[in-house]
Protein backbone atom coordinates (compact mmCIF):
# COMPACT_ATOMS: atom_id res chain seq x y z
CA UNK A 1 0.00 0.00 0.00
CA UNK A 2 1.46 3.40 -0.90
CA UNK A 3 2.42 5.80 1.83
CA UNK A 4 0.87 9.16 2.60
CA UNK A 5 2.59 11.80 0.56
CA UNK A 6 4.74 14.04 2.73
CA UNK A 7 3.36 17.55 3.09
CA UNK A 8 5.32 19.89 0.85
CA UNK A 9 7.53 22.37 2.61
CA UNK A 10 5.61 25.65 3.02
CA UNK A 11 7.37 28.92 2.17
CA UNK A 12 5.70 31.33 4.60
CA UNK A 13 7.28 34.32 2.91
CA UNK A 14 6.36 33.58 -0.70
CA UNK A 15 4.05 36.00 -2.51
CA UNK A 16 1.45 33.27 -3.03
CA UNK A 17 1.40 32.33 0.63
CA UNK A 18 1.26 35.91 1.87
CA UNK A 19 -1.47 36.80 -0.63
CA UNK A 20 -3.66 33.93 0.62
CA UNK A 21 -2.70 34.75 4.21
CA UNK A 22 -3.95 38.33 3.82
CA UNK A 23 -7.50 37.03 3.33
CA UNK A 24 -7.37 34.20 5.88
CA UNK A 25 -5.73 36.46 8.47
CA UNK A 26 -8.40 39.09 7.72
CA UNK A 27 -11.13 36.53 8.31
CA UNK A 28 -9.66 35.45 11.61
CA UNK A 29 -9.23 39.03 12.84
CA UNK A 30 -12.73 40.01 11.71
CA UNK A 31 -14.13 36.78 13.20
CA UNK A 32 -12.62 37.56 16.58
CA UNK A 33 -13.87 41.18 16.35
CA UNK A 34 -17.41 40.03 15.55
CA UNK A 35 -17.26 37.50 18.37
CA UNK A 36 -16.13 40.28 20.71
CA UNK A 37 -19.08 42.46 19.63
CA UNK A 38 -21.57 39.59 19.62
CA UNK A 39 -20.81 38.63 23.22
CA UNK A 40 -21.29 42.24 24.31
CA UNK A 41 -24.60 42.34 22.44
CA UNK A 42 -25.63 39.08 24.08
CA UNK A 43 -25.37 40.75 27.51
CA UNK A 44 -28.56 42.63 26.59
CA UNK A 45 -30.37 39.39 25.85
CA UNK A 46 -28.90 37.49 28.80
CA UNK A 47 -28.32 40.15 31.49
CA UNK A 48 -27.97 37.53 34.22
CA UNK A 49 -24.83 36.22 32.42
CA UNK A 50 -23.38 39.67 31.86
CA UNK A 51 -20.10 39.13 33.72
CA UNK A 52 -19.38 35.84 32.00
CA UNK A 53 -20.22 37.26 28.57
CA UNK A 54 -18.01 40.29 29.09
CA UNK A 55 -15.19 37.99 30.14
CA UNK A 56 -15.62 35.96 26.92
CA UNK A 57 -15.78 39.17 24.91
CA UNK A 58 -12.48 40.36 26.38
CA UNK A 59 -10.84 37.05 25.49
CA UNK A 60 -11.98 37.46 21.88
CA UNK A 61 -10.45 40.92 21.88
CA UNK A 62 -7.13 39.44 23.02
CA UNK A 63 -7.33 36.76 20.32
CA UNK A 64 -7.80 39.47 17.73
CA UNK A 65 -4.61 41.20 18.87
CA UNK A 66 -2.75 37.89 18.73
CA UNK A 67 -3.79 37.27 15.15
CA UNK A 68 -2.94 40.85 14.16
CA UNK A 69 0.56 40.10 15.44
CA UNK A 70 0.64 36.93 13.28
CA UNK A 71 -0.07 39.05 10.20
CA UNK A 72 2.58 41.62 11.13
CA UNK A 73 5.08 38.83 11.71
CA UNK A 74 4.69 37.77 8.06
CA UNK A 75 4.47 41.41 6.91
CA UNK A 76 0.95 40.84 5.64
CA UNK A 77 -1.84 43.44 5.60
CA UNK A 78 -5.10 41.68 6.48
CA UNK A 79 -7.82 42.14 3.87
CA UNK A 80 -10.57 43.30 6.23
CA UNK A 81 -13.00 44.33 3.46
CA UNK A 82 -12.90 40.80 2.15
CA UNK A 83 -13.40 39.53 5.70
CA UNK A 84 -16.43 41.74 6.42
CA UNK A 85 -18.06 40.54 3.21
CA UNK A 86 -17.19 36.98 4.17
CA UNK A 87 -19.12 37.28 7.46
CA UNK A 88 -21.87 39.58 6.11
CA UNK A 89 -24.66 37.04 5.97
CA UNK A 90 -23.99 35.46 9.37
CA UNK A 91 -23.59 38.97 10.79
CA UNK A 92 -26.93 39.98 9.31
CA UNK A 93 -28.69 36.91 10.69
CA UNK A 94 -27.21 37.50 14.16
CA UNK A 95 -28.30 41.14 14.12
CA UNK A 96 -31.82 40.30 12.93
CA UNK A 97 -32.25 37.71 15.68
CA UNK A 98 -30.81 40.05 18.33
CA UNK A 99 -33.17 42.82 17.22
CA UNK A 100 -36.08 40.46 17.88
CA UNK A 101 -34.65 39.34 21.23
CA UNK A 102 -34.19 35.80 19.96
CA UNK A 103 -31.44 34.31 22.09
CA UNK A 104 -31.42 30.84 20.53
CA UNK A 105 -30.42 31.79 16.97
CA UNK A 106 -27.86 34.24 18.37
CA UNK A 107 -26.25 31.53 20.48
CA UNK A 108 -26.38 29.03 17.62
CA UNK A 109 -24.62 31.47 15.30
CA UNK A 110 -21.97 32.74 17.73
CA UNK A 111 -21.46 30.07 20.35
CA UNK A 112 -21.93 27.00 18.19
CA UNK A 113 -21.33 27.72 14.51
CA UNK A 114 -18.63 30.39 14.75
CA UNK A 115 -16.85 28.78 17.70
CA UNK A 116 -16.94 25.29 16.12
CA UNK A 117 -15.74 26.72 12.83
CA UNK A 118 -12.92 28.51 14.64
CA UNK A 119 -11.92 25.42 16.63
CA UNK A 120 -11.91 23.26 13.49
CA UNK A 121 -9.93 25.80 11.48
CA UNK A 122 -7.40 26.49 14.26
CA UNK A 123 -6.84 22.78 14.89
CA UNK A 124 -6.25 22.14 11.19
CA UNK A 125 -4.03 25.24 10.94
CA UNK A 126 -1.74 24.49 13.93
CA UNK A 127 0.31 21.70 12.26
CA UNK A 128 0.93 23.83 9.14
CA UNK A 129 1.39 27.23 10.80
CA UNK A 130 4.63 29.19 11.08
CA UNK A 131 6.24 28.93 14.53
CA UNK A 132 5.02 32.31 15.71
CA UNK A 133 1.41 31.77 14.62
CA UNK A 134 1.39 28.21 15.96
CA UNK A 135 2.07 29.36 19.52
CA UNK A 136 -0.58 32.07 19.33
CA UNK A 137 -3.16 29.74 17.80
CA UNK A 138 -2.52 26.98 20.34
CA UNK A 139 -3.33 29.43 23.11
CA UNK A 140 -6.44 30.71 21.35
CA UNK A 141 -7.95 27.30 20.60
CA UNK A 142 -7.91 26.38 24.29
CA UNK A 143 -10.01 29.49 25.04
CA UNK A 144 -12.46 28.78 22.23
CA UNK A 145 -13.48 25.50 23.85
CA UNK A 146 -14.65 27.47 26.89
CA UNK A 147 -16.67 29.80 24.66
CA UNK A 148 -18.34 26.87 22.99
CA UNK A 149 -19.08 25.53 26.44
CA UNK A 150 -20.99 28.67 27.45
CA UNK A 151 -23.45 28.28 24.57
CA UNK A 152 -23.73 24.53 25.10
CA UNK A 153 -24.54 24.91 28.77
CA UNK A 154 -27.20 27.56 28.25
CA UNK A 155 -28.85 25.69 25.37
CA UNK A 156 -28.69 22.40 27.30
CA UNK A 157 -30.49 24.01 30.24
CA UNK A 158 -33.18 25.35 27.86
CA UNK A 159 -33.18 22.43 25.43
CA UNK A 160 -36.89 21.61 25.48
CA UNK A 161 -38.05 25.11 24.59
CA UNK A 162 -35.04 25.87 22.33
CA UNK A 163 -35.05 22.68 20.22
CA UNK A 164 -37.35 23.83 17.42
CA UNK A 165 -35.65 27.23 17.20
CA UNK A 166 -32.23 25.57 17.08
CA UNK A 167 -33.33 23.37 14.21
CA UNK A 168 -34.73 26.35 12.32
CA UNK A 169 -31.60 28.41 12.96
CA UNK A 170 -29.48 25.46 11.83
CA UNK A 171 -31.43 25.26 8.57
CA UNK A 172 -30.99 28.98 8.04
CA UNK A 173 -27.31 29.26 8.89
CA UNK A 174 -25.45 26.03 8.18
CA UNK A 175 -25.73 26.35 4.36
CA UNK A 176 -24.08 29.77 4.77
CA UNK A 177 -21.14 28.12 6.53
CA UNK A 178 -20.61 25.68 3.64
CA UNK A 179 -20.67 28.57 1.16
CA UNK A 180 -18.15 30.45 3.32
CA UNK A 181 -15.90 27.41 3.36
CA UNK A 182 -16.06 27.02 -0.40
CA UNK A 183 -15.25 30.70 -0.76
CA UNK A 184 -11.91 30.30 1.05
CA UNK A 185 -11.06 26.70 0.08
CA UNK A 186 -8.35 27.75 -2.39
CA UNK A 187 -6.68 30.16 0.06
CA UNK A 188 -6.87 27.59 2.85
CA UNK A 189 -5.26 25.04 0.52
CA UNK A 190 -2.37 27.45 -0.08
CA UNK A 191 -1.88 27.54 3.70
CA UNK A 192 -1.81 23.73 3.78
CA UNK A 193 -5.36 23.29 5.06
CA UNK A 194 -7.65 20.89 3.17
CA UNK A 195 -11.34 21.68 2.79
CA UNK A 196 -12.29 18.06 3.40
CA UNK A 197 -10.49 18.04 6.72
CA UNK A 198 -12.00 21.40 7.70
CA UNK A 199 -15.53 20.19 6.99
CA UNK A 200 -14.94 16.94 8.85
CA UNK A 201 -13.48 18.67 11.90
CA UNK A 202 -16.31 21.20 11.89
CA UNK A 203 -18.91 18.42 11.74
CA UNK A 204 -17.18 16.57 14.59
CA UNK A 205 -17.06 19.67 16.80
CA UNK A 206 -20.56 20.82 15.89
CA UNK A 207 -21.93 17.29 16.33
CA UNK A 208 -20.34 17.07 19.78
CA UNK A 209 -21.88 20.39 20.75
CA UNK A 210 -25.32 19.32 19.54
CA UNK A 211 -24.93 16.05 21.44
CA UNK A 212 -23.99 17.88 24.66
CA UNK A 213 -27.03 20.09 24.25
CA UNK A 214 -29.32 17.07 24.02
CA UNK A 215 -29.79 16.12 20.38
CA UNK A 216 -29.80 12.42 19.41
CA UNK A 217 -27.32 10.88 16.97
CA UNK A 218 -30.10 10.82 14.37
CA UNK A 219 -30.76 14.56 14.83
CA UNK A 220 -27.03 15.29 14.74
CA UNK A 221 -26.42 13.40 11.51
CA UNK A 222 -29.32 15.25 9.90
CA UNK A 223 -28.49 18.69 11.28
CA UNK A 224 -24.71 18.69 10.90
CA UNK A 225 -24.84 17.63 7.25
CA UNK A 226 -27.68 20.03 6.39
CA UNK A 227 -27.13 21.72 3.06
CA UNK A 228 -23.60 20.32 2.61
CA UNK A 229 -24.31 18.47 -0.60
CA UNK A 230 -25.96 21.51 -2.20
CA UNK A 231 -23.01 23.78 -1.36
Amino acid sequence: MPQLEASPEIDFHSETYRDAYSRINGIVIEGEQEAHDNYIQLTELLPQHKDELLRLSKMEGRHKKGFEACGRNLKVTPDLDFARNFFAQLHHNFQSAAAENQVVPCLLIQSLIIECFAIAAYNIYIPVADDFARKITEGVVKDEYTHLNFGEEWLKAHFAEAKADLEAANRQNLPIVWRMLNHVAADAHTLGMEKEALVEDFMIQYGEALSNIGFTTRDIMRMSAYGLSAA
Binding site: M1, N123, E194, V199, E200, I204, T217, R218, L228, S229
Partner: protein, 339 residues
Protein backbone atom coordinates in the same frame (compact mmCIF):
# COMPACT_ATOMS: atom_id res chain seq x y z
CA UNK B 1 -17.70 -0.57 28.20
CA UNK B 2 -16.34 -2.12 24.98
CA UNK B 3 -16.36 -0.55 21.53
CA UNK B 4 -16.28 -1.63 17.92
CA UNK B 5 -15.00 0.57 15.10
CA UNK B 6 -16.37 -0.63 11.81
CA UNK B 7 -17.06 0.42 8.26
CA UNK B 8 -19.19 -0.67 5.35
CA UNK B 9 -17.86 -2.67 2.39
CA UNK B 10 -18.48 -0.21 -0.45
CA UNK B 11 -20.06 3.13 -1.32
CA UNK B 12 -23.09 1.32 -2.69
CA UNK B 13 -23.42 -0.64 0.55
CA UNK B 14 -23.06 2.55 2.61
CA UNK B 15 -25.74 4.34 0.59
CA UNK B 16 -28.19 1.47 0.94
CA UNK B 17 -27.59 1.18 4.69
CA UNK B 18 -28.01 4.93 5.20
CA UNK B 19 -31.27 4.74 3.27
CA UNK B 20 -32.48 1.74 5.23
CA UNK B 21 -31.67 3.40 8.57
CA UNK B 22 -33.44 6.60 7.49
CA UNK B 23 -30.50 8.98 6.98
CA UNK B 24 -31.35 10.58 3.61
CA UNK B 25 -28.59 13.20 4.12
CA UNK B 26 -26.08 10.35 3.88
CA UNK B 27 -27.96 8.01 1.52
CA UNK B 28 -27.83 10.17 -1.58
CA UNK B 29 -24.18 11.15 -1.28
CA UNK B 30 -21.12 10.17 -3.28
CA UNK B 31 -17.61 9.33 -2.11
CA UNK B 32 -16.73 13.04 -1.76
CA UNK B 33 -19.28 13.37 1.05
CA UNK B 34 -18.14 10.23 2.88
CA UNK B 35 -14.58 11.60 2.79
CA UNK B 36 -15.86 14.51 4.94
CA UNK B 37 -18.34 12.64 7.13
CA UNK B 38 -17.53 12.41 10.84
CA UNK B 39 -17.62 9.22 12.93
CA UNK B 40 -20.88 8.39 14.68
CA UNK B 41 -21.96 6.01 17.41
CA UNK B 42 -24.89 4.33 15.72
CA UNK B 43 -25.59 1.34 17.95
CA UNK B 44 -25.47 0.40 21.61
CA UNK B 45 -24.97 -3.24 22.44
CA UNK B 46 -25.67 -5.56 25.36
CA UNK B 47 -23.88 -8.91 25.46
CA UNK B 48 -24.47 -11.71 27.97
CA UNK B 49 -21.77 -14.30 28.60
CA UNK B 50 -22.42 -17.99 29.13
CA UNK B 51 -21.25 -17.25 32.69
CA UNK B 52 -24.18 -14.82 33.09
CA UNK B 53 -21.99 -11.72 33.09
CA UNK B 54 -23.49 -8.80 31.15
CA UNK B 55 -21.50 -6.06 29.41
CA UNK B 56 -22.40 -2.97 27.39
CA UNK B 57 -20.79 -1.65 24.23
CA UNK B 58 -21.04 0.89 21.45
CA UNK B 59 -20.56 0.63 17.71
CA UNK B 60 -18.65 3.50 16.10
CA UNK B 61 -19.19 3.88 12.35
CA UNK B 62 -16.00 5.43 11.03
CA UNK B 63 -17.49 6.37 7.62
CA UNK B 64 -14.38 4.89 6.01
CA UNK B 65 -15.03 3.14 2.69
CA UNK B 66 -12.61 0.84 0.79
CA UNK B 67 -13.05 3.06 -2.29
CA UNK B 68 -11.01 5.71 -0.46
CA UNK B 69 -7.97 3.44 -0.77
CA UNK B 70 -8.79 2.40 -4.33
CA UNK B 71 -9.04 6.07 -5.37
CA UNK B 72 -5.91 7.09 -3.40
CA UNK B 73 -7.81 9.25 -0.89
CA UNK B 74 -5.30 8.24 1.75
CA UNK B 75 -5.60 11.37 3.86
CA UNK B 76 -9.35 10.89 4.11
CA UNK B 77 -8.88 7.20 4.96
CA UNK B 78 -6.44 7.92 7.77
CA UNK B 79 -8.62 10.75 9.12
CA UNK B 80 -11.59 8.38 9.36
CA UNK B 81 -9.68 5.92 11.51
CA UNK B 82 -8.01 8.47 13.79
CA UNK B 83 -11.27 10.38 14.26
CA UNK B 84 -13.23 7.20 15.02
CA UNK B 85 -10.63 6.20 17.63
CA UNK B 86 -10.79 9.66 19.18
CA UNK B 87 -14.58 9.47 19.22
CA UNK B 88 -14.47 6.09 21.00
CA UNK B 89 -12.01 7.36 23.61
CA UNK B 90 -14.01 10.56 24.17
CA UNK B 91 -17.06 8.45 24.90
CA UNK B 92 -15.21 6.66 27.68
CA UNK B 93 -14.94 3.28 25.97
CA UNK B 94 -12.35 1.12 27.74
CA UNK B 95 -11.41 -1.24 24.95
CA UNK B 96 -12.28 -0.86 21.26
CA UNK B 97 -11.66 -3.28 18.39
CA UNK B 98 -10.51 -1.84 15.08
CA UNK B 99 -12.57 -3.79 12.56
CA UNK B 100 -12.05 -4.39 8.83
CA UNK B 101 -9.51 -2.03 7.27
CA UNK B 102 -9.18 0.15 10.38
CA UNK B 103 -6.21 -1.66 11.92
CA UNK B 104 -4.55 -2.14 8.53
CA UNK B 105 -4.72 1.59 7.80
CA UNK B 106 -3.45 2.40 11.29
CA UNK B 107 -0.44 0.18 10.79
CA UNK B 108 0.36 0.86 7.12
CA UNK B 109 0.21 4.63 7.48
CA UNK B 110 2.13 4.62 10.72
CA UNK B 111 -0.62 6.42 12.60
CA UNK B 112 0.89 5.76 16.02
CA UNK B 113 2.98 8.86 15.40
CA UNK B 114 -0.23 10.93 15.68
CA UNK B 115 -0.82 11.19 19.41
CA UNK B 116 -2.66 14.48 19.84
CA UNK B 117 -5.98 14.87 18.05
CA UNK B 118 -7.58 18.22 18.80
CA UNK B 119 -7.98 18.27 22.61
CA UNK B 120 -7.57 14.50 23.01
CA UNK B 121 -4.37 12.53 23.63
CA UNK B 122 -4.95 9.09 22.13
CA UNK B 123 -4.34 6.24 24.56
CA UNK B 124 -3.43 3.29 22.41
CA UNK B 125 -3.91 0.80 25.22
CA UNK B 126 -7.64 1.37 24.77
CA UNK B 127 -7.55 -0.27 21.32
CA UNK B 128 -7.03 -3.74 19.92
CA UNK B 129 -6.91 -4.97 16.35
CA UNK B 130 -8.77 -8.09 17.44
CA UNK B 131 -6.44 -10.08 15.17
CA UNK B 132 -5.37 -12.62 17.81
CA UNK B 133 -8.92 -13.84 18.23
CA UNK B 134 -9.55 -13.72 14.47
CA UNK B 135 -6.44 -15.81 13.80
CA UNK B 136 -7.44 -18.27 16.54
CA UNK B 137 -10.96 -18.63 15.14
CA UNK B 138 -9.73 -19.13 11.57
CA UNK B 139 -7.37 -21.88 12.77
CA UNK B 140 -10.24 -23.59 14.59
CA UNK B 141 -12.33 -23.26 11.42
CA UNK B 142 -9.56 -24.96 9.41
CA UNK B 143 -9.39 -27.80 11.92
CA UNK B 144 -13.13 -28.32 12.40
CA UNK B 145 -14.54 -27.56 8.93
CA UNK B 146 -11.94 -29.82 7.30
CA UNK B 147 -13.26 -32.64 9.50
CA UNK B 148 -16.81 -31.82 8.43
CA UNK B 149 -15.71 -32.20 4.79
CA UNK B 150 -13.71 -35.36 5.39
CA UNK B 151 -10.40 -33.67 4.58
CA UNK B 152 -7.56 -35.24 6.59
CA UNK B 153 -5.19 -32.43 7.60
CA UNK B 154 -2.22 -34.80 7.75
CA UNK B 155 -2.72 -35.37 4.03
CA UNK B 156 -3.82 -31.86 3.19
CA UNK B 157 -2.24 -28.89 1.45
CA UNK B 158 -3.31 -25.53 2.91
CA UNK B 159 -2.78 -22.30 0.95
CA UNK B 160 -2.76 -19.06 2.93
CA UNK B 161 -3.48 -16.01 0.76
CA UNK B 162 -2.19 -12.98 2.60
CA UNK B 163 0.30 -15.17 4.48
CA UNK B 164 2.60 -12.33 5.52
CA UNK B 165 -0.14 -10.22 7.10
CA UNK B 166 -0.76 -10.07 10.82
CA UNK B 167 -3.53 -12.68 10.75
CA UNK B 168 -2.01 -14.73 7.91
CA UNK B 169 1.35 -15.17 9.61
CA UNK B 170 -0.32 -16.16 12.90
CA UNK B 171 -2.44 -18.76 11.07
CA UNK B 172 0.73 -20.16 9.47
CA UNK B 173 2.48 -20.41 12.84
CA UNK B 174 -0.51 -22.12 14.48
CA UNK B 175 -1.06 -24.62 11.63
CA UNK B 176 2.65 -25.43 11.70
CA UNK B 177 2.87 -25.89 15.47
CA UNK B 178 -0.54 -27.20 16.49
CA UNK B 179 -1.65 -29.37 13.57
CA UNK B 180 -0.07 -32.07 11.44
CA UNK B 181 -1.02 -30.32 8.19
CA UNK B 182 1.01 -31.86 5.35
CA UNK B 183 1.91 -28.79 3.30
CA UNK B 184 1.67 -25.01 3.65
CA UNK B 185 1.55 -22.79 0.54
CA UNK B 186 2.46 -19.18 1.23
CA UNK B 187 0.86 -16.58 -1.04
CA UNK B 188 1.36 -12.82 -0.70
CA UNK B 189 2.50 -9.80 -2.70
CA UNK B 190 5.74 -8.96 -0.87
CA UNK B 191 8.48 -11.44 -1.78
CA UNK B 192 10.87 -10.28 0.93
CA UNK B 193 8.31 -10.79 3.67
CA UNK B 194 7.43 -14.17 2.19
CA UNK B 195 11.08 -15.22 2.41
CA UNK B 196 11.24 -14.05 6.03
CA UNK B 197 8.09 -15.96 6.90
CA UNK B 198 9.38 -19.11 5.23
CA UNK B 199 12.64 -18.81 7.18
CA UNK B 200 10.76 -18.32 10.48
CA UNK B 201 8.52 -21.30 9.85
CA UNK B 202 11.32 -23.45 8.46
CA UNK B 203 8.82 -24.76 5.94
CA UNK B 204 6.19 -23.74 3.40
CA UNK B 205 6.30 -23.21 -0.36
CA UNK B 206 6.18 -19.70 -1.79
CA UNK B 207 3.83 -19.71 -4.78
CA UNK B 208 1.77 -17.30 -6.81
CA UNK B 209 -2.00 -17.39 -6.35
CA UNK B 210 -2.50 -19.09 -9.73
CA UNK B 211 0.06 -21.74 -8.87
CA UNK B 212 -1.26 -22.36 -5.37
CA UNK B 213 -5.00 -22.62 -5.94
CA UNK B 214 -5.06 -25.86 -8.02
CA UNK B 215 -2.87 -27.59 -5.41
CA UNK B 216 -4.79 -26.66 -2.27
CA UNK B 217 -7.29 -28.77 -0.34
CA UNK B 218 -7.94 -25.80 1.89
CA UNK B 219 -7.53 -22.10 1.02
CA UNK B 220 -7.45 -19.51 3.78
CA UNK B 221 -8.14 -15.98 2.46
CA UNK B 222 -6.87 -13.23 4.75
CA UNK B 223 -5.55 -10.66 2.26
CA UNK B 224 -6.50 -7.01 2.61
CA UNK B 225 -7.98 -5.99 -0.73
CA UNK B 226 -10.51 -3.23 -1.42
CA UNK B 227 -12.14 -5.56 -4.00
CA UNK B 228 -12.40 -9.33 -4.24
CA UNK B 229 -10.72 -11.58 -6.83
CA UNK B 230 -12.51 -13.69 -9.45
CA UNK B 231 -11.90 -17.44 -9.17
CA UNK B 232 -12.61 -20.17 -11.72
CA UNK B 233 -13.87 -22.97 -9.49
CA UNK B 234 -13.15 -25.64 -12.12
CA UNK B 235 -9.41 -25.08 -11.55
CA UNK B 236 -9.73 -25.97 -7.85
CA UNK B 237 -9.32 -29.37 -6.22
CA UNK B 238 -12.53 -31.18 -5.35
CA UNK B 239 -13.24 -31.27 -2.50
CA UNK B 240 -11.85 -27.88 -1.59
CA UNK B 241 -12.56 -25.81 1.52
CA UNK B 242 -12.32 -22.04 1.04
CA UNK B 243 -12.26 -19.99 4.24
CA UNK B 244 -12.79 -16.34 3.31
CA UNK B 245 -11.66 -14.11 6.17
CA UNK B 246 -11.51 -10.90 4.14
CA UNK B 247 -13.64 -7.82 4.84
CA UNK B 248 -14.75 -6.93 2.21
CA UNK B 249 -14.66 -10.52 1.00
CA UNK B 250 -11.54 -11.70 -0.82
CA UNK B 251 -13.70 -13.77 -3.15
CA UNK B 252 -15.69 -11.78 -5.68
CA UNK B 253 -17.20 -14.93 -7.19
CA UNK B 254 -20.19 -16.74 -5.76
CA UNK B 255 -18.75 -20.24 -6.03
CA UNK B 256 -21.45 -22.79 -6.72
CA UNK B 257 -19.57 -25.97 -7.36
CA UNK B 258 -20.58 -29.14 -5.51
CA UNK B 259 -16.97 -29.95 -4.67
CA UNK B 260 -16.12 -26.53 -3.25
CA UNK B 261 -17.37 -25.26 0.10
CA UNK B 262 -16.96 -21.63 1.08
CA UNK B 263 -17.00 -20.70 4.76
CA UNK B 264 -17.05 -17.15 6.11
CA UNK B 265 -13.74 -16.88 7.93
CA UNK B 266 -13.02 -15.15 11.22
CA UNK B 267 -16.68 -15.28 12.20
CA UNK B 268 -17.93 -16.52 15.56
CA UNK B 269 -21.33 -17.56 16.78
CA UNK B 270 -22.35 -16.56 20.26
CA UNK B 271 -24.38 -19.00 22.33
CA UNK B 272 -26.88 -16.31 23.31
CA UNK B 273 -28.62 -13.62 21.30
CA UNK B 274 -26.93 -10.21 21.17
CA UNK B 275 -29.11 -7.13 21.21
CA UNK B 276 -27.85 -5.01 18.30
CA UNK B 277 -28.54 -3.91 14.73
CA UNK B 278 -25.15 -3.75 13.09
CA UNK B 279 -24.80 -7.42 12.12
CA UNK B 280 -28.03 -7.12 10.09
CA UNK B 281 -26.29 -4.35 8.22
CA UNK B 282 -23.27 -6.45 7.28
CA UNK B 283 -25.54 -9.27 6.13
CA UNK B 284 -24.67 -11.99 8.63
CA UNK B 285 -26.82 -15.10 8.19
CA UNK B 286 -27.90 -15.08 11.84
CA UNK B 287 -27.35 -11.43 12.82
CA UNK B 288 -28.31 -11.86 16.47
CA UNK B 289 -25.64 -14.51 17.02
CA UNK B 290 -22.90 -14.15 14.41
CA UNK B 291 -20.18 -11.54 14.47
CA UNK B 292 -16.62 -10.81 13.46
CA UNK B 293 -14.08 -12.47 15.75
CA UNK B 294 -12.15 -9.20 16.02
CA UNK B 295 -15.22 -7.51 17.50
CA UNK B 296 -15.68 -10.46 19.85
CA UNK B 297 -12.10 -9.88 21.06
CA UNK B 298 -13.02 -6.48 22.51
CA UNK B 299 -16.02 -8.13 24.22
CA UNK B 300 -13.73 -10.80 25.68
CA UNK B 301 -11.27 -8.17 26.91
CA UNK B 302 -14.19 -6.32 28.53
CA UNK B 303 -15.56 -9.52 30.12
CA UNK B 304 -12.12 -10.29 31.55
CA UNK B 305 -11.33 -6.60 32.19
CA UNK B 306 -8.05 -6.97 30.35
CA UNK B 307 -7.87 -3.29 29.43
CA UNK B 308 -4.87 -3.48 27.17
CA UNK B 309 -4.14 -3.50 23.47
CA UNK B 310 -4.07 -7.29 23.44
CA UNK B 311 -3.48 -7.39 19.67
CA UNK B 312 -1.27 -4.65 18.28
CA UNK B 313 1.35 -4.08 15.59
CA UNK B 314 2.26 -6.49 12.85
CA UNK B 315 3.33 -10.10 13.28
CA UNK B 316 3.29 -9.93 17.08
CA UNK B 317 0.63 -12.62 17.59
CA UNK B 318 1.99 -15.46 19.69
CA UNK B 319 0.63 -18.98 20.07
CA UNK B 320 0.38 -18.31 23.82
CA UNK B 321 -1.89 -15.33 23.27
CA UNK B 322 -3.98 -17.32 20.80
CA UNK B 323 -4.41 -19.98 23.49
CA UNK B 324 -5.24 -17.34 26.08
CA UNK B 325 -7.91 -15.59 23.99
CA UNK B 326 -9.16 -19.00 22.81
CA UNK B 327 -9.80 -20.13 26.38
CA UNK B 328 -11.86 -17.07 27.28
CA UNK B 329 -13.65 -17.26 23.93
CA UNK B 330 -14.93 -20.72 24.84
CA UNK B 331 -15.61 -19.68 28.44
CA UNK B 332 -17.92 -16.82 27.40
CA UNK B 333 -19.77 -18.83 24.78
CA UNK B 334 -18.22 -18.02 21.39
CA UNK B 335 -17.76 -20.76 18.79
CA UNK B 336 -16.20 -20.68 15.33
CA UNK B 337 -18.72 -20.56 12.50
CA UNK B 338 -18.74 -23.92 10.70
CA UNK B 339 -20.26 -25.32 7.51
Amino acid sequence: MFGLIGHLTSLEHAQSVAKELGYPEYADQGLEFWCMAPPQIVDTITVTSLTGQIIQGKYVESCFLPEMLASHRFKAATRKIINAMTHAQKHGINITALGGFSSIIFEKFNLQQIKQIRNVTLELKRFTTGNTHTAYIICRQVEQASQQMGIDLSQATVAICGATGDIGSAVCRWLDARTDVAELLLVARDQERLQDLQTDLGRGKILSLDQALPLADIVVWVASMPKGVEIDSTTLKHPCLMIDGGYPKNLATQIQHPGVSVLNGGIVEHSLDIDWRIMHIVNMNIPSRQLFACFAESMLLEFEQWYTNFSWGRNQITLENMDKIGQVSVKHGFQPLLL
